[in-house]
Amino acid sequence: MRRGEVVLETRSLSMHFGGVRAVDRVDFQLWENELRCLIGPNGAGKSTFFKCLTGQLVPTIGDVVIRDIHVAGREPHEVAGLGVGIKTQVPNVFDGLTTRENIWLSCRRWHGARRTDALTSETIERLQLGEFRSRQVGSLSHGQRQWVELGMVVAAQPWLVLLDEPAAGMTHEETDRTAELIREINEDAAMIVVEHDMNFIRRISKKVTLFHEGRILMEGTMDAISKDRRARDVYLGHRA
């Protein structure tokens, strides 16, 4: 399991907005079946970095390679088309459609009609969304909508999953279930999770990448990072 091949790689990836270098020459590698957390204070560039991976932003310089395919500058649907499941920061769901329809649309991208129906029911079961199956997603709570979106990611059975703040705005109980789900997903897929919540990261992570001012400050286990002075300065500095 450990250290198979590299499934996602960035090569001196940079994203400039005017004079601001939101992401600055980042070299990053993700291995098969790895679960990597990206952390960093606000404005560290992790969300911009994430958007470069998903195709929502076109990097100024550098490249993103997913399984030997160059994807920098490609459309998000082309990235997703490689079998990558993506969840963005704000709950990005189809508010006017029901829970079931949301998940159905995700499955149907990959499977025929009959398989989709089965898989949709399965996913709803797995995420315990049965109660809201026929409710319009727009009428659900924030945490519930986050779950619907996670359901959409899972339902497509991706081999690589990119999550941006999956636990944001969730209740304690919901966060627990999310952590559990992420571990479950990680059994079949490599993952990148962008997160703020240190406690949450502690529960899921194996390896963490710390961003600061557009660059990777350090990589290591959560324990190692939380003991490091530089890392504490980064956070404390911003807290002050």
Binding site: T54, Q56, E75, P76, H77, E78, A80, G81, I86, K87, T88, N92, V93, F94, D95, G96, L97, T98, R100, E101, W104, L105, S106, R108, R109, W110, A113, S134, Q136, G138, S139, S141, E149, M152, A156
Partner: protein, 356 residues
């Protein structure tokens, strides 16, 4: 499937009602009403086309009239040159769809925002309005068809396929038009329930999400836009056959606005609503024109203003909402109350139109 997707049975039911109406028309309507219905059917097909691409595809095309008018003009010109209506209809639909495909390609692949797409399509329609009005000189001919500028050009009547001499009577043209409307209505109802249609609805709801699921949203939007243009072109064909003439007014700002208004009045997210709204507003306007007591514009203006204040969601969704509320109320009043304490339903999808 239920919710947004689950309306196909209702579509078939409405189509059946329309079919019964068609068959019963001669015994319940006056003869002249039947023969003037053809042009109204043409307009209602235009309403249907916008109901499809705006109500379901989320594409606010302010210039749907561009395809409507292009269909009408192409039909008139082709029918004069070919000397028969059947081939001309296919040509008209192909011209409008091809034009929409090119325009849509530039718009969607150029990532033009929603509001500006609305304006660009309107501008295209207005350019056609200006250009076609430029053609009043005798030198503006396509084959045997004189374009006629401001005065427009005559639109030949329908004939039996393969026999250009066998021209249909106006009352028979009504049947053809009505059947076309019903078939197109069922087609649109079927389309929005296919995988393609559902993806289009999802793009309306959240384009980024659809893209992140791996759908090439540009291609889907282009697809439904082109289909909508083809439907609008069929509307244009029947409209000009009904009027017996096509004039530049088909491209005008007034006609473009009216098309949007049908969909607002009928309700976004339904197919039958805008179609009925087109019929209703037409006959309201036509009947106002038969009286001499008050100014027609004045009355029509007041009715529209009152409508927007009193029935903000459109007629059909308003009725549907009432009906659902009553049914749900009977089933489970307590649950309804709980839901109402949370967020108002559907608010978010409407908000999308305001940004941009």
């Amino acid at each position: 499937m239920n919710g947004m997707f689950g309306q196909f049975r209702g579509t078939l039911f409405a189509a059946l009602l329309a079919l019964i109406f068609t068959i019963a028309a001669p015994s319940i309507l006056e003869f002249f009403t039947i023969i003037t219905l053809t042009q109204v059917i043409g307009l209602s097909i235009l309403a249907l086309s916008l109901a499809l691409i705006w109500g379901y595809g989320g594409i606010l095309c302010f210039g749907q009239t561009a395809f409507f008018g292009l269909g009408a003009y192409s039909y008139a010109i082709a029918a004069v040159n070919i000397g028969g209506s059947t081939g001309a209809m296919f040509i008209a639909v192909a011209v409008a769809a091809a034009f929409a495909a090119v325009l849509g390609y530039f718009a969607f692949y150029g990532k033009i925002s929603d509001v500006y797409l609305a304006v660009i399509t309107l501008t295209v329609s207005l350019i056609m309005y200006s250009l076609i009005r430029r053609t009043s000189g005798p030198e503006y001919k396509i084959g045997d068809a004189l374009l006629g500028g401001f005065n427009g050009t005559g639109a030949p009547p329908l004939n039996v396929p393969g026999n250009a001499g066998a021209v249909l009577f106006p009352e028979h043209t009504f049947y053809v038009a009505m059947v076309a409307l019903i078939l197109l209505y069922v087609f649109c109802g079927w389309l929005v329930n296919t995988h393609f249609g559902r993806v289009c609805v999802s793009i309306r709801e959240n384009e980024i999400r659809a893209e992140l699921l791996g759908y090439d949203t540009r291609a889907y939007k282009l697809g439904i836009f082109t289909v909508g243009a083809a439907v609008a072109a069929i509307g244009g064909i029947f409209f000009c056959i009904g009027v017996t003439r096509v004039t530049p007014d088909v491209f005008s700002l007034g006609q473009a606005s009216l098309t949007i208004i049908w969909v607002i009045v009928g309700g976004r997210g339904t197919l039958a609503g805008p179609v009925l709204a087109a019929f209703g507003l037409y006959y309201l306007t036509a009947s106002l024109g038969t009286q001499q007591v008050v100014n027609t514009s004045l009355v029509l203006g007041i009715i529209l203003i009152a409508f927007v204040l009193l029935a903000p969601r459109g007629v059909v969704p308003g009725i549907e909402k009432l009906a659902t509320a009553r049914r749900a109320g009977r089933r489970n009043r307590a649950k309804e109350r709980r839901m109402r304490l949370r967020k108002p339903r559907g608010g978010i999808s409407e908000d999308r139109h305001e940004t941009g």
